[in-house]
Symmetry: D2
Subunit: 345 residues, 4 copies
Amino acid sequence: MTVRFGLLGAGRIGKVHAKAVSSNSKAKLIAVADAFEKAASDLAGQYGCAVRSIEQILAADDIDAVVICTPTDTHAELIEQFARAGKAVFCEKPIDLDVERVKACLKVVDAEAATLMVGFNRRFDPHFQAVHDVIAKGEIGTVEMVTIVSRDPGAPPVDYIKRSGGIFRDMTIHDFDMARYLLGEEIESVTAQASVLVDKAIGEAGDFDSASVMLQTATGKHATISNSRRATYGYDQRIEVHGSKGAVSAENQRPVSIEVANASGYTRPPLHDFFMTRYLDAYAHEISAFIDFVESKSPASPSGIDGLIALALADAAVKSVKEGRTVKVSEVTGVMADRSIFQGR
Amino acid sequence: MTVRFGLLGAGRIGKVHAKAVSSNSKAKLIAVADAFEKAASDLAGQYGCAVRSIEQILAADDIDAVVICTPTDTHAELIEQFARAGKAVFCEKPIDLDVERVKACLKVVDAEAATLMVGFNRRFDPHFQAVHDVIAKGEIGTVEMVTIVSRDPGAPPVDYIKRSGGIFRDMTIHDFDMARYLLGEEIESVTAQASVLVDKAIGEAGDFDSASVMLQTATGKHATISNSRRATYGYDQRIEVHGSKGAVSAENQRPVSIEVANASGYTRPPLHDFFMTRYLDAYAHEISAFIDFVESKSPASPSGIDGLIALALADAAVKSVKEGRTVKVSEVTGVMADRSIFQGR
Amino acid sequence: MTVRFGLLGAGRIGKVHAKAVSSNSKAKLIAVADAFEKAASDLAGQYGCAVRSIEQILAADDIDAVVICTPTDTHAELIEQFARAGKAVFCEKPIDLDVERVKACLKVVDAEAATLMVGFNRRFDPHFQAVHDVIAKGEIGTVEMVTIVSRDPGAPPVDYIKRSGGIFRDMTIHDFDMARYLLGEEIESVTAQASVLVDKAIGEAGDFDSASVMLQTATGKHATISNSRRATYGYDQRIEVHGSKGAVSAENQRPVSIEVANASGYTRPPLHDFFMTRYLDAYAHEISAFIDFVESKSPASPSGIDGLIALALADAAVKSVKEGRTVKVSEVTGVMADRSIFQGR
Amino acid sequence: MTVRFGLLGAGRIGKVHAKAVSSNSKAKLIAVADAFEKAASDLAGQYGCAVRSIEQILAADDIDAVVICTPTDTHAELIEQFARAGKAVFCEKPIDLDVERVKACLKVVDAEAATLMVGFNRRFDPHFQAVHDVIAKGEIGTVEMVTIVSRDPGAPPVDYIKRSGGIFRDMTIHDFDMARYLLGEEIESVTAQASVLVDKAIGEAGDFDSASVMLQTATGKHATISNSRRATYGYDQRIEVHGSKGAVSAENQRPVSIEVANASGYTRPPLHDFFMTRYLDAYAHEISAFIDFVESKSPASPSGIDGLIALALADAAVKSVKEGRTVKVSEVTGVMADRSIFQGR
């Protein structure tokens, strides 16, 4: 079977997914849509597919699944439309910046028994997946403390910041999902501190560029997250898990693994310059997993619920910074209680 | 000039200092005192020095300086006695578990214009010192985020825990000092979370064995600390500093640097098994620095104030865990305000 | 422009090239030929191309270039046929096991002004290429000593050994080419020692499984090569270049970059298990370079001459082991003198 | 028991041994002798020992053992004198530059049943010793290939070169001993190539500054050695052993283990700047081992025979370069045959 794809959005992340879909022998990219005609036609030219409007893709008989890479404020509406149209949906995170809107959207997905997968690409990185495997095999015993360092190479433009929902919903959201994935149990409380150290304009826009977060589960497991919007040395992406019998870690990746030695010392090249190259394999594996879910009609993972919970953790972090205290996830939203209403799709 | 030493306490850490003093060409170990006669005479035999009572050392003409390695609850009293007797004092951390008692003690030290150095040995580790040097030279720009991982190889007996003042005052206190040392400015707020994951008996004794801490300075700089009482892989001691122009880190140390490769992979030996070997060089450099302060009659560093502030940070962490909120250091104690009353000795 | 490919040989290395050709947006795999019908049809099915005989590919109008992955003893004949048919030729190493036969073949290639590229894939590995770039930029000054470690994960069957031409022509040949590539000047003398340590049957077949080689250039530069047919820890592929101003090295690659720590130490996974995964990127870049040569009609590199010289170095190594002495490359063959007769194609 | 030492020679290596002896709790440095009065008195002042003539040390009742650090051409004569005087002798390598002279000297040692230990300090490096232990425990199976990289930070003055006996007898001699130590069996043949790449003056003095060596044992095991007189990145000292079940390696050591990251990459400091710091621990362990041999009156290791064989390997390397061929150790000297005449002392 070949899964026939429509791509919604031909921007930076849309290009990444177009490549992943096109390289997959079980997938075929049929059409691409974008508000900017030229962006769509350029991508269509590169991969030999059609340019269509979103409405045409919605109505198309020759499309089984869509990848949603449009602006965040359109995600929930599009998920609902395509779920109702019987298409499988892969949506970039976040579903929406508002928890209630996400919940409403997931109810539609649930009612339609639609396949929805949310783009937490890092779960599909082979190195992080190997870390998860080591944990799953019991090699480090019971997980006790997860440490995540996640730093961008450089701060985005303030215009981006303003539409982003803030550092916790835009950037840390990936780390919240990774923490859940590695802890293996739900997070109960969030404590965060944040400040503006990189770019004053970010502060003036009401956001932060440097953040530290502590998470705790009901059984007392910890996770800590360290975020910065600027690391001169590249895209810093490390995870480390300490358990009762040992620890496992995934080091940073580099485009080339050489070392130059001279009188100044031994120098290895900087890290990858951003997610498009750092997570190249992860994006390919992610689409591959989505195709498997579509083919097998089994619930996708990470699911809409995973997207919802990560967002709720971000909301709790925002509240924690504002109020200077530890925030229970249950305070922020009834998400955990609501969880049972969803069938895990 | 040779500095003539008396050693108070011949236990585990006393032995470490006896070795450091004896190996230093500018020092001479004259006498050792210990409540357990045999501990004192064994150490005296090994290093060819006398066994004396604390009173005899206090009264001795042939002793310039003492190293206090007795139980914590005797530290403040001994510091005061030896300061009054005109001896230079090196005291193992902490000065006392009670901030007010520490302040009273430091007033005596100040009044006597005595030399007092507190045993934050990690500042003298050559690797951590090299990290500090890199920062001082401006190589990483402005410091923004300090990350400290500090894990013991195994939990101590519950009897030790009961007398320890709790994980923050006993273990994290070193990390609080290191955070201040690397941040280069005072910490304004402390947020901590802690749990019992290693040994239930530690929880029954009212303490924790796993802790995460976030610190913030007035200018918004962050530090995070991750502590566990048990790491199967050895004594885990790492620091990492992220700044505006780059980052610097000090990796873990191993007794031997080999790697064995076979079908299971590439294996390096575990870390040092505890502080006595991991910080062997640090203890030697620490005593050497103390001797320099004694000889030059300049204020010692880390000073009594450094000991006081680290303790106040520990108190703030305790309060933070209890109340589930960020605690300002100013809440806990008037330490920062009081600081000016001390002359930095 | 799209370069239309025929693939000759659908075995292990044929599959690797089929994938590289198919993934390249400037290439199209038109047909595959193999003496075993099923091998050809399986591969054709996987990549959606035709099955044809070699004769059909030779006569085809819709094929611009061929990749020769057939058994070694057919290479020279096929190169000549396809060169005469006006097709661009990419041929797996070696062109032939006999230097004189290679020279005769290259004369045909030269007479036809055909494009011929020889499959020294390692030159296209991004890490080794980065090493070459560092040298080219002068970062380590003048190259003085090249060190190559190249070990296979496990010894091949004795049947393979018997047809292989021996360890120097089959395995070390890659390292001879790499040494030339990194030294940046021709090798003047070869000294080798070899023994049977892995598998007695290899010795009984008249070959060796463990070899050490020293090379020297006219200006006195050194290269050393260490080969073994069996490394339990994986496919060991390292290069290191020492120069007047510094050194540069490329470490081994692993499928995943994680580390597991426990009481036994810190363990990283084994290396790649062989060239198909270790050099995946190299094969893709290699075909990409070939396409560029075909499109630009410029001389290919590595060329037939590069293939010839590497074979001559292997012959010199064989002679060195046999005679227990350093062998000048000029002794073995008139290759260097003949070099001028070839136009570098 | 305390072993009472006389030190002959207060130069660079003499100072290293003075420190090692003085720091050892089972040793006492009684006297130092040097042709330059001031060198002797400076060292004596530093360690609180006497200045004496060699004759006085020879006649002294209060000296049990001597450390010979005088110029090479005096070693054999001094060993004989002190052996006859009943003192235990530790002598820096080499015993003499002439194999026959060494053999004559060892006969005297043997006749006197004297304790003689030769200064192959690297055997006592904790990292290299750990490599040896891994082999001894069978963790890598049967040893097959030893790889040694040994490069000095900078070329010595030509005056030193002229008296040195040449690169193989002066520098590679340590690597010959290490190869034997790790191979665990005697070397049968030596093949070497050498050139002048660092300093023409070294070539004009009849020596080389860059050398590669291949060794082979009777059972076909290999060792390769790579030497250069100049490595801008520090004192490069690495060993690696490949065996039937795995491999073990010892990486380079650095004074500090930090890493600085910025836009140019990740930089670790250069290596140790020379043997005095790189092998600090090794020198201490070496003297400690010597003291144990003296106390237990057991044969010392590395012995005079070890010194003799390493020299014979160097002679074979010289011959190999001159004649452009593999040289059997048996050609160079009757050392192996003679071996039985020595009682291993």
